[in-house]
């Protein structure tokens, strides 16, 4: 990402793939990107990309007749971000290093907030589950959600959100990302068959805050406090049974304790609580239904409180017990 102007090329830098379709003047027609917690390609396919390309080419032909270039701004590149001006730059800037730089800078200057942490909202946060092939077609609309209350139904094709045209999943995220934090009324337009519908999404105060399940895949979660200070490999179903656990009881074997680097205090804290490599963790404050390790780490960071003890259910040498771990600030 070295040399890439972040004012022009804006997308969720936590992603592993983003395709921007644009005019040479910097106008972005379509943002083909995005994923959910299930898989990196949950919302991408060659067939849907090909269709979106064909649609966007028509947009380009229309736009080229009377272009309206965006205002020119000084280029903002990752190597010029304040964090990397004062710290060692990596040889190669990965996309997620951009979010890292924003977060490290924000936490260091104590200016970081939820509004900075929870960016690029998943449409699922407003109750709209989009289809991979259809991109902007509703695969499902959650009952009693803002999308449902606005009148959206399964099969509807979303054509604009907040007056921004939407051709791909990434466009919907771009539009939602631009909505300010807090309660909001966002216009939405969709096609149901050949008929156009328009309504307003009534978004509640905390709509931009995802659930731990929705946020689990985001690399942005790693620097969030409080941190457990340890992690490991999930047990298979057979291993859970062998440990005397139910098959659906998520469990992992502690494979590392963070005793190195800037977060080593969290690992030392975990050790003081009794966490040891090799022990099996099978519940935290009674929660046993984590989807995977990412979910565990997101949940811990998003829902536990520094200074408030967390009860960790463990098995060590065949003995079950509960450890009390007080997360650090």
């Amino acid at each position: 990402m070295r040399g890439v102007d972040l004012n022009v090329f804006r997308f969720n830098y936590d992603l592993t793939l983003a395709v921007l379709l644009m005019h040479a003047d910097g106008t972005i027609y379509t943002n083909y990107s995005g994923r959910d917690a299930t898989d990196a390609s949950s919302h991408q396919s060659t067939s849907s990309l090909a269709r979106v390309l064909r649609e966007t080419f028509k947009v380009h032909q229309r736009y080229s007749k009377s272009p309206a270039p965006p205002p020119v701004q000084p280029a903002k590149t990752v190597e010029k971000l304040p964090w990397f001006q004062n710290h060692k730059q990596p040889k190669c800037f990965h996309c997620h290093n951009i979010h890292d730089a924003f977060q490290w800078q924000g936490r260091t200057t104590k200016t970081w907030s939820d509004q900075d942490q929870y960016t690029w909202p998943d449409p699922d946060q407003i109750g709209l589950r989009l289809d991979r092939e259809g991109q902007v077609v509703a695969a499902a609309v959650r009952k009693d959600s803002p999308a449902a209350r606005a009148g959206l139904r399964k099969g509807d094709r979303v054509v604009s959100v907040n007056r921004q045209p939407t051709r791909a999943f990434g466009d919907v995220q771009v539009a939602l990302n631009a909505v300010p934090w807090g309660k909001a009324r966002v216009p939405v337009v969709w096609m149901r068959g050949a008929k156009k519908h328009a309504a307003v999404l009534e978004l509640p105060q905390s709509w931009k805050r995802p659930t731990p399940e929705q946020y689990a895949w985001r690399p942005m979660k790693w620097p969030m406090p409080p941190m457990p200070g340890f992690g490991g490999r999930p047990l298979s179903v057979e291993e859970r049974r062998a440990a005397g656990l139910k098959a659906d009881n998520f469990a992992f074997r502690v494979g590392y304790i963070v005793t190195w680097g800037p977060n080593r205090a969290t690992g030392h804290n975990a050790q003081r609580a009794g966490i040891r490599k090799g022990m099996v963790v099978h519940g935290v404050d009674g929660k046993t239904d984590f989807r995977d390790m990412n979910h565990f780490h997101a949940w811990f960071r998003m829902t536990r409180t520094p200074g408030r003890p967390v009860m960790v259910a463990v098995i060590q040498n065949g003995t079950q017990r509960t450890l009390s771990l007080t997360p650090l600030r």
Binding site: M1, G3, V4, F9, F11, Y13, L15, T16, L17, A18, V19, L20, L21, M22, H23, A24, D25, Y29, A50, L53, R54, T56, F57, H60, S64, C92, F93, H94, C95, H96, P219
Partner: protein
């Protein structure tokens, strides 16, 4: 580990870019934007980050 950024100047759905030949990827973003401005073609910019 590393990142790959591929840029493709889209030449239209009738072109060989969607047929049998491989697309002619560019890797110089500034040069690709200049070429797109000169030719009137849109840009497809791919950011591929392998974590």
């Amino acid at each position: 580990m590393g990142w790959l950024c591929g840029l493709l100047l889209l030449v239209g759905i009738e072109s060989a870019a969607f047929a049998e030949d491989s697309p002619n990827w560019r890797t110089d973003l500034a040069a690709a934007r200049k070429e797109a401005a000169r030719t009137g073609k849109p840009l497809l910019v791919v950011f591929r980050c392998v974590p």
